[in-house]
Amino acid sequence: MMKTTTLVLGMMLAGLTLSVQAHTLTVVPSHYVQSKTGSFISVDVSASNMTFQADKGIDLKAFHVVNPDNTAGKVLSSYQGKRKSQADVELKQEGTYRLELGGMPRFFTSYELDGKRERLMGNKQEAAAKLPKGATNVVTTQGRNRAMAFVTVKKPSDQVLAVTGKGLEFSFDKHPADIVATEPVTVTMLFDGKPVAGVELHLSFDGELYRNEPGRIEHKTDASGQFTFTPATPGRYLLEGSFMTDVASAQADKLREGFTLSFEAALP
């Protein structure tokens, strides 16, 4: 039941110490849909192996809320628990909010020394100053990982879904609040604003602890960047994506981007 996608990097990016365990970071709101402005949601943030089965609470320094009008939302209170962290968010505006953990790019440089693979934090210039003598196979990776969810109060809005044209992003053929069990959904993976091939996607759904087969779907995008799936049953789903590419920049040799998006498929 171990995941094939490892988000070790994501944990580093979220401000955690590097763990040997591979965990997936998830942002899971108590409600994806609310019918009253001024209501609250509690958001669970955790790292887990099984989808939505909280294993580890996450430092919430890198957690933020984007209001429907793209202003910064407010986290009223938060708590980092052993198994999950929780943040309370007030939904004062009508529209769609983005809840997001992470998002800032970080750099790490790996190298070999005396036959062993080592790594240090820092971009190419920073690493150059810190690298021990005799280090070989030096590769600097720029990584960014995000764990997200969208919550909608009354009428869905699109501002927080807008594509920025930077890095790995996604675009759905319907609003996340319109995802309904038994109805197909197409997501297009974009890199720097264009459909991109080679994004590894995993789709999983709630309740893995209580069934023998996790029932995950894996997909690697082709040039269309598209992935079409039909949530068979209503409930909570998790879409995970990761993408690696070479870059020619002064700061890094490789770029690695990943995300998780929790969402619900509503009752038809």
Binding site: K154, A177, A266
Partner: protein, 169 residues
């Protein structure tokens, strides 16, 4: 849970509709809210509306509800209509109702009051109850002037539904 099985009844049951015929006979919608004795009982939130063949809502007939907090629990109604059109919902809202038989009508118009073109439509009744279940009935019918007599069997939150309409004279 959509009840898909339906039964064509003899035309005599369509007389109710025929009595109201002229100029266009409305669709008579009769349904039951069952008596529920198990557990805590709260009156259900109920929405009744008509969708076209593309499942787009064309006419909201009635909504029975109380607090807006729970509007979202009428999942389909919330998604299709309520979340985006508060004035329409307010205009068609009535108080929640207890167990009993109820009768509503559809005059063949859309939300703007304009007569809809002939074609395939469906009636949707959705009911959700606090500490109870959620139930949805979806029944397709032809709106082309012909008689309608359809029975939908009872579900957990929505009892028997009978749809009828007299043929256009």
């Amino acid at each position: 849970m959509a009840v898909k099985t339906w039964l064509l009844l003899p035309l005599s049951l369509g007389l109710l509709g025929a009595a109201h015929a002229a100029p266009t006979a409305p669709l008579q919608i009769e349904f039951e809210l069952p008596t529920i004795t198990q557990g805590q009982y709260h009156r259900p939130y109920v929405a009744v509306w008509i969708e076209d063949a593309q499942e787009k809502p064309v006419r909201l007939i009635e909504v029975w509800r109380e607090k807006p907090d729970w509007d979202k629990d009428l999942r389909r109604f919330w998604r299709k209509t309520a979340r985006a059109d508060q004035p329409l919902v307010d205009a068609r809202t009535g108080a929640t109702k207890g167990p009993g038989r109820y009768r509503l009508q559809w005059q063949g118009d859309d939300d703007a009051g304009k007569a809809v073109p002939a074609g395939k439509y469906q009636l949707v009744i959705e009911a959700a109850r606090e500490h109870g279940g959620r139930n949805m009935v979806k029944q397709a019918f032809d709106w082309d002037g012909s008689a309608i007599a359809l029975d939908i069997k009872a579900g957990s939150e929505i009892g028997k539904v009978h749809l009828s309409r007299g043929a256009k004279s």
